[in-house]
Symmetry: C2
Subunit: 195 residues, 2 copies
DNA sequence: ATTTTTACCTGTCCTATTTCAAGCTCATTT
DNA sequence: AAATGAGCTTGAAATAGGACAGGTAAAAAT
């Protein structure tokens, strides 16, 4: 059970858990180690697991028809990642989920999650809270994309996720913010001139 | 209670309700009528209610610094609308929610929703399911915005929401899809030439 | 130790989309 | 009946950001 403490703590930040609930939750989890560049989800395969990042970094992205990669989400320590559409509907994925560094993950599979909610309805609350939070933050991202320029979005990203700036390659950040890596390079260049 | 049947039916599509639960739910709802152009949410005021559209059409939008309107969501019959960030955190809104037609709404307020979940935990499940669904669809919208051209997004909108095409002004659809209304006009013009 | 690959930068040209300005049509108000 | 305003169109000029090509340095693979 010690192995799963990071997830148990994560859940405990949102709902109160008894010892029985903690160990039942732990019984449904598993640990996985992945190497840099390894895919844990691929198009056409159902995304069976939702992954909590204990150590490392991953991203989910869409491969466009002309080979352009569009990063949907980035996860470092204490974040979750999956192809959510594939996961919640248990249909084939459209995204890749790729390790950006050697990583350690704690995973829960779809059936276990359903079982968890059926036997312990308290977890419905947990999943509701985190879905609502991600919904609010995804909507905020939409809003930034609609109303801000590339440079403004980049600044917002820097202040919001300083830890990612050092670790995540810039071409991935660019593809997350919705512009080309060359353009990001130009933004940075302009800034050093100004200052 | 007849007045609230649309919402009771909506909820019943996702979870099974007893008669007691239905009438308790109904006791927490209220009906509101709004006229075209009326705001039901405004920046700096807390968004107290989540609104289900019985009849009519509304949108939520952000007013940019230079006066550009960015439409975040559009709701017609059988949709819900609110400034979600303001609603779930009970902090001042940043969005407007505006009636696009004379409308009839069924509303639930934040405290009633919390009470509902505490006294009848079954509703946690309902709110979880709909948050997850909106999360999946918001992520899909992000993905379209990142990977598709203006014309492709417009085509996607047409096939996905045909009912809105007839009712919602084009400048609002453009601001929802993330481009100018003039450009939408040009897209349509190009198409009639081709066909 | 050397070769290959990855991430990043820079310049030039290119295009999707914006901005501005004007005009048109239809519905609503007076 | 005139006036107003909302929504849509059109065209010309401007621009944010993209695509391409080439170059460098460091990291990773052999």
């Amino acid at each position: 059970m010690e192995d799963f403490l990071p997830v148990i703590n994560y859940v405990s930040r949102h709902i109160q858990l008894t010892d029985e609930e903690k160990s039942y939750l732990a019984s449904l989890l598993r640990i996985t180690r992945v190497k840099k560049k390894q895919y844990i989800v691929q198009p056409d395969f159902v995304c069976k697991y939702k992954s909590y990042v204990v150590k490392g970094a991953l991203r989910s992205f869409l491969m466009g028809n002309e080979g352009q990669e569009h990063t949907i989400s980035i996860a470092i320590e204490d974040w979750w990642i999956a192809d959510y559409h594939s996961y919640i509907n248990q249909v084939p994925a459209t995204l890749f989920v790729e390790a950006l560094e050697d990583s350690i993950l704690i995973q829960i599979d779809y059936n276990a999650e359903q079982l968890l909610m059926e036997t312990h309805p308290k977890f419905e609350r947990f999943f509701r809270i985190i879905s609502q939070r991600s919904l609010a933050s995804t909507q905020h991202r939409m809003l930034s994309n609609l109303s801000k320029t590339a440079e403004q979005r980049f600044e917002e990203f820097e202040t919001k996720y300083p830890k990612m700036m050092n670790r995540i390659p810039q071409y991935i950040i660019a593809s997350y913010l919705g512009f080309s890596s060359e353009f990001l390079s130009k933004i940075r260049n302009n800034r050093t001139k100004k200052s």
